[in-house]
Symmetry: C2
Subunit: 201 residues, 2 copies
């Protein structure tokens, strides 16, 4: 389809460059923007520009932050001897939303994935080892996705940290809340039987 | 979920204000932008700003354009006595993509929809009547969606133009290319039998 305006064409191409957005969706989004007040679109553009100019990564855990040290790392009420290793910023937010964790984090910024050309050197693994080297950390929780890439990354980190006097733990795997047993895959169900726990009523 | 940065929060809210984009998708898009080069995000923002500052609507047909008169209306090779009335700019692009139409357009900018509070006064219907009043138009093609709102709009325009010496036509309805007959709804199939055409081999 030929687009009747160079500026429209450019805007559509920008949106279509985002993941999961094709050209038809991009066109719909841009035409929606055009139906708004011009000032709203200027605000939209300025917000993106301010984001890239102002956002920082915490120099300790590499979480997104407005400061050089994030609100979690600078909070004295958190347990700084327990570090939860996650793939992404979204994972930090997901775990924070559970309100079940009071330690700190380490965001790897990805996961080892040879298929995508991502090796250990592309991730925040050396900085994790350095944090552990400093000697105040007692537990590292490997909270990565239970996939082949996640398991590979866990194993790589485990080997890097194995000679440190810390405990290395990982998330419990088992049946999820509200899952039907007969729809649960057999690896998960098998593991949930092997790892069964005392019933506490 | 609490977002650890004000700037991230604002950017996510801007994306989540677009149609069909929820907060989780918005977060994914914004984090994708952050993974790019900062200059790319600045370009993204500038493109949106340039769009709203530069894009124009053709003063004749109300199609999007970079000029005050669009490339179709200013093309002397097009048949300016035939006007195809469409709901949106996307419809112009869809019909242009067929390469089967050589007339000009009139973009209503919507469709009569009492449920959404859109009446005839919100659409480019008076300007259509005015174009016909000028006397050079011989045919108006009503190319609106075959829905209740589309039919209502067609009927409204038909009544406004009925006393003008022009022919008013509408798109053929019938079975679509590659459709299975037994999956075609009965209104469409019934109409395609009533409107049957000589077989030309």
């Amino acid at each position: 389809m030929e687009i009747p305006s160079v500026f429209l064409e450019r805007a559509v191409s920008q949106f279509a460059g985002l993941p999961g957005i094709g050209r038809k969706t991009a066109m719909r989004l841009v035409l929606h923007l055009l139906k708004r007040e011009p000032q709203d679109v200027v605000t939209f553009a300025q917000t993106m520009q301010e984001l890239v100019e102002n956002v920082r990564y915490c120099h300790i855990c590499h979480n997104l932050s407005d400061e050089t040290e994030c609100a979690i790392c600078s909070n004295p009420k958190r347990d700084h001897s327990t570090v939860c290793v996650v793939e992404s910023i979204q994972d930090v937010m997901a775990i924070e939303a559970t309100q079940q964790y009071n330690g700190v984090y380490h965001v790897l910024g990805g996961i080892i994935s040879p298929m995508d050309g991502i090796g250990p050197q592309d991730l925040e693994i050396p900085s994790l080892v350095q944090r552990v080297d400093e000697g105040t950390i007692r537990e590292v929780i490997l909270a990565l996705a239970p996939t082949m890439e996640g398991d590979t990354t866990c194993f790589y980190i485990y080997r890097k940290l194995a000679d440190h006097p810390i405990s290395i733990t990982t998330l419990a795997r088992g049946v999820a809340q509200n899952d039907q047993l007969h729809y649960t895959d057999e690896v998960t169900l098998g593991r949930s039987i092997v790892d069964r726990r005392p019933f506490t009523g």
